[in-house]
């Protein structure tokens, strides 16, 4: 079967990512097949080094698989040129990271504006959209602050605002609570849930915390040693 069904956001078919280091072949992702439905909140659960982050990067189009095929909203990532992949990252997916990855010398407003610049959105439209995104994560009054002036939780909220400012249909989150205490982490997870419920965003979250995955996501895909271990739909 090619492409994704109408209801599917992402379909990965026997996806592999092997690294050749000297004589040794490292199979970071090894023949993984799974689907994500539109509007689903899926957790990729695994220990560190299990290959879950590598899989997320493949879904994000930051890396290309050495085998298999990934379709996102009926388009094959493997068939895209690097410029098309950049457009895909800009318009179709939003990313958040464990380390937040806000640019430290820019204000929150400028950080959140960055994806709009890259997507060549008109200047006139930008500031309203930046404001809207920051208000949605509860940082409407911190526009002029720099990341260093904020707490970890606030930084991750700003990163979320940046991820959704371009109104992507899919949010990819790589250990979004990994640098946060459990209370703040829970707040971030609530926000993700809210995006999932209210904005109908499809969310794929990488985590090593089974409890978190269990509490917030619709489905848990467990990965170990680059292979799919289980695929459990929560009831």
């Amino acid at each position: 079967m090619n492409g994704t069904n109408d209801g599917q956001a992402i379909r990965a078919e026997s996806v592999s990512r092997h690294y050749q280091i000297g004589e040794a072949v490292i199979r970071a992702v090894d023949g993984v097949t799974f689907q994500v439905e539109r509007g689903e909140f899926v957790s990729l659960l695994g220990a560190s080094g299990s290959g879950k982050s590598t899989l997320l990067n493949l879904l994000a189009g930051l890396d290309r698989p050495t085998g298999g095929e990934i379709w996102v909203e009926s388009r094959s990532l493997g068939a895209m040129s690097s410029i098309e992949l950049a457009r895909y990252r800009s318009h179709t997916v939003g990313m958040v990271f464990q380390a937040f990855n806000l640019l430290p010398r820019m204000t929150l407003e400028e950080n959140v504006e960055l994806p709009l610049r890259l997507a060549e959105v008109d200047r006139a439209e930008r500031s309203a959209r930046v404001r809207e995104a920051l208000e949605r994560v509860g940082l409407g009054r911190r526009l002029a602050h720099r990341p260093g002036e904020l707490s970890g939780g606030e930084q991750q909220r700003a990163a979320l605002a940046r991820a959704l400012v371009n109104r992507p249909s899919i949010l990819l989150a790589d250990e979004p609570t990994g640098n946060l205490d459990s209370k703040t982490g829970a707040e971030i997870m609530e926000l993700l849930r809210e995006f999932n419920d209210k904005l109908s965003m499809t969310i794929v979250m990488v985590t090593h915390e089974a409890a978190l995955a269990d509490r917030f996501s619709d489905r848990i895909v467990t990965i170990a040693d680059g292979k799919l271990l289980s695929n459990v739909v929560k009831t």
Partner: protein, 467 residues
């Protein structure tokens, strides 16, 4: 990314490492400055030389004299001719109509008496052709140049002006001088005019022609009558205008050439004219004429034409072509030396941008994750390199100009102590300024190629890996 966003991000990045980028830009500026200073020196010397050569009238002028069958020094160069063609008005007009000729004028200088406030002074008066206006002697003169070639106006040399008014030479401008001179009057013609420069009446030819009504064919003499003419002082010059062959030497009073011709003042050469026998009285004769041509390259052709007309000519060969070649070589050498510093500055740009890549690894990774294409990252680095080039170029041209001024100042300080006139040894024409900036930008962009490609190639997964 849009150009405006690229520019904004680039400037922002440059500001973030302001010290390092300023130093790199300063490096470019020093490189450009050394290039500009070197070339400005070459250009300045070339302009100075060209100006001197052009104003000397040596390279675009031909000196014309009638064949006189002159014997005296060494062997005769030409076979004697029985009836040498006279150098008269008709010949002058004929020469003026040759291709490339801008002006044909006689040299008129005569010793005479001038009165200022009724005090008599004896001095030499010379006629200036209008082309002398461009002579450097009139740059920065007090007062102005002649309003027309027939105006009753005089320009004084500073030496004579000081003699007339030791305290304030400027006060002389607008005052009147009375020129008293000996005018030629053809024999047998009326002697009505007493004051004024009106030419003697002439029934058959125009201005300046020598009337000969009813004269004997063998007789070409004239009588000399005293006349006077009032002239207004309109300007004072510090140095003598160059005048080609002969020059003005010691002349301290200049009047318009056409006016000088109409005065019919007796000149030294007039005596020779008297002796020239039959035909000599048929019109005004010139002892010599100076032919000015548009460019020195036309000198040889025009000179040949004039020789065919039956006159003796003299000119210097076109030396300016070799001179141009020499200066092109000089500019090339100066440019090479000047470019060395810019080459070093280029390495500075490469170094700065490579450092920036190492520092901004994560940032580049983030940009890519947020949707930046390789091309965007590449352009960002290019714009940063180009901006350093533009700023360094502009600043460098300013510095180079300043160094040139310093060199000029230093040279003139030295020349002044040697009691020599000052010269402009450096010049930064607009093409050099713009060319240097464009060169700086080009070189900076070239320096940006490697870092930009490297930044664009950066693997975002590697760059974003949590440390």
């Amino acid at each position: 990314m849009k150009a405006s966003d690229l520019g904004e991000l680039a400037l922002r990045n440059l500001r973030e490492a302001v010290l390092r980028n300023s130093l790199t830009t300063l490096g470019v500026a020093v490189g450009v400055a050394s290039l500009v200073a070197m070339l400005s020196l070459g250009v300045g010397l070339q302009q100075f030389t060209n100006r001197r050569l052009a104003s000397s009238g040596l390279f675009n002028a031909i000196f014309v004299a009638p064949r006189t069958n002159f014997t005296g020094f060494g062997p005769r160069a030409e076979a004697p001719v029985e009836h040498p063609r006279p150098l008269d008005e008709a010949a002058r007009i004929e020469m003026e109509h040759l291709a490339g000729v801008t002006e044909v004028y006689p040299q008129i200088r005569f010793m005479t008496e001038l009165r200022y406030n009724s005090v008599p002074y004896t001095t030499v008066v010379a006629g200036l052709p209008s082309s002398d206006r461009s002579d450097s002697a009139f740059d920065g003169m007090q007062g102005r140049f002649f309003s027309s070639q027939t105006a009753d106006e005089a320009i004084l040399g500073i030496r004579f002006a000081r003699e007339l008014s030791p305290k304030d030479t400027g006060a002389l401008i607008g005052r009147d001088l009375v020129l008293r001179y000996a005018a030629r009057q053809p024999l047998n013609s009326s002697t009505e005019a007493s004051d004024a420069g009106a030419p003697p009446k002439s029934p058959k030819s125009g201005k300046g022609a020598h009337s000969d009504s009813g004269a004997d064919q063998g007789l070409s003499g004239f009588s000399v009558v005293p006349r006077k003419k009032t002239l207004r002082i309109i300007g004072i010059i510090k140095s003598e205008p160059e005048a080609g062959f002969g020059g003005f030497r010691a002349t301290q009073v200049y009047i318009p050439l056409t006016l000088a011709q109409t005065l019919q003042a007796t000149q030294v050469s007039d005596l020779r004219e008297v002796l020239q026998g039959p035909g000599a009285g048929e019109g005004q004769r010139y002892a010599s004429l100076t032919v000015r041509v548009k460019s020195s390259s036309q000198v040889v052709a025009v000179e040949n034409e004039i020789k065919k007309m039956g006159f003796r000519t003299f000119s210097l060969f076109d030396a300016s072509r070799n001179l141009r070649l020499l200066f092109a070589l000089l500019d090339l050498l100066l440019g090479i030396f000047g470019s060395l510093a810019l080459a070093v500055a280029t390495l500075g740009i490469v170094n700065t941008l490579v450092m920036a890549i190492l520092e901004r690894r994560r940032e580049i990774g983030v940009l890519k994750a947020l949707g930046a294409a390789d091309r965007d990252v590449k352009q960002l680095f290019f714009v940063e390199a180009g901006t350093m080039g533009v700023l360094g170029g502009i600043f460098g041209v300013g510095m180079g100009w300043f160094i040139g001024r310093l060199l000029t100042w230093g040279t003139n300080f030295y020349l002044h102590r040697q009691s020599l006139p000052s010269v402009d040894v450096s010049a930064v024409p607009w093409w050099l300024a713009l060319g240097a900036i464009a060169f700086a930008v080009g070189v900076s962009l070239a320096a940006g190629i490697y870092p930009a490609a490297r930044a664009a190639r950066l693997d975002p997964v590697e760059a974003l890996r949590y440390e």
